[in-house]
Symmetry: C2
Subunit: 227 residues, 2 copies
DNA sequence: GGTCAATACTTTATCGATAAAATTAATTTT
DNA sequence: AAAATTAATTTTATCGATAAAGTATTGACC
């Protein structure tokens, strides 16, 4: 399960650092799909010994971001249109289910969190306008989507949702690296936020589902070499 | 993701062995919930060095069977009625969805597999009659349930289903270790199998959902100290 | 008697070294 | 020259040792 932003008080370890950095490098596409991950090389790059590196890779394999082939090491997970569709279909299911539960259970604190994270994202949207979304935008974007489902009581649902969110994010960042995208994403976020705070589950879920699906469609339709 | 019964040709490694054995020991309850897993001890018990053991534990943590607390090692994941309900609810969703897809996509080979694995399970059911289900029954039982969804095309759905299957199995084996259970489980399997081969999705899913839910209820109602 | 801190003891996380396996290159055979 | 061997090189998986962190113990002090 993704341990990147776990709020536990567990002390940070070299494995954690390697995991977090490797994860970000895979999600951003800096480590491209299919790339062989040689431990010797990663050791120098991430400043850790073989054990922490291998442990981090084991975790990432659990998240489906890398794959492990016994006796022949690790590589970055491949991508394909077929898998994108699989991920998206399941993610829509999980996201909407989690959102419904969050709307059901969310309290004032949750509302405040949703509003605040939306605000931070939209301010960044304004400022960046037509620019490339950078690391910070990705961070805020993730925070916003996390805030929506943060009031969902189901640990397991959120766990799986998190994994699929990461998967989707990787596809999006791989495909839209320089494709601008002509959708009004900021507006979609706004509508989702409003419907959510209105406690209009049906509408919020429909909007969120469309948001996820349309992003996937944009990825699939971007000129993109795969399979 | 669970790598226990992956059909890839990847050579088996010490980490794989440790993973498989630890997993079985946790599912069977030999390693009880909350137990501290000291690497030094596991090293001698499973005959491997610290690195393979730690790697195996990292994988298990991804499956939610152990938890890792930075700088203070690993322990077997705790259990609670609340989590059992969470797991069950989500598992019903996944199992039925996967079964529906399998019924939709399954070919003759799949039908043969379902029938064969049901047969092996039911033969064992007859022979054991009222006895404790042992390791072999668990194996056959798992094979049967796996066969049902084996024709499902969605990798990710099956991945998550597998994880939740393991979780459910642990709860069941923990709770029903000596409680006999007065349900006709073999009969339930038969009905599920028949509805599935009849390609009656609605009925098969209803039966499977009830099967999963009733097992969970039996676990919850067994005299069982937890939370 | 209970609290606190200094000390001794475990355990974890991590490194560096190495045998086994896989890959690549070189060489021979058909 | 293509295929098959064999040799050389790289890479993985794994072990044993160790520093850093955590936990338990002891004993002084109020």
């Amino acid at each position: 399960m993704p341990t990147a932003d776990k709020p536990t008080r567990s002390k940070t370890t070299l494995t954690d650092i390697a995991y977090t950095r490797l994860r970000e490098d895979i999600l951003s596409g800096r480590l491209e799909p299919g790339l062989k991950l040689r431990v010797e090389h990663l050791k120098t790059h991430y400043g850790a010994g073989a054990s922490p590196i291998r442990e981090a890779l084991s975790r990432l394999t659990g998240d489906g971001l890398t794959i492990a082939e016994g006796r022949r090491g690790f590589r970055v997970a491949e991508v394909s249109n077929a898998e994108l569709m699989d991920i998206t279909e399941l993610r829509v299911l999980m996201e909407t289910r989690a959102l419904r539960m969050a709307i059901e259970a969310g309290d004032d604190e949750w509302e405040a969190l949703v509003l605040a994270s939306f605000h931070r994202l939209s301010k960044l949207d304004e400022r960046l306008a037509m620019e490339q979304p950078g690391e910070e935008w990705e961070e805020r974007h993730r925070d916003f989507h996390n805030s929506l489902v943060s009031a969902c009581q189901s640990r397991w649902l959120k766990n799986f949702r998190d994994i699929l969110f990461d998967q989707s994010e990787r596809y999006r960042r791989l495909a839209l690296a320089n494709g601008p995208g002509k959708r009004d994403v900021a507006g979609e976020h706004k509508q989702i936020m409003e419907a959510t705070l209105d406690r209009d589950s049906d509408r919020a879920c429909d909007l969120l589902a469309a948001h996820v699906q349309e992003t996937a469609d944009a990825v699939a339709n971007s000129d993109w070499v795969c399979d």
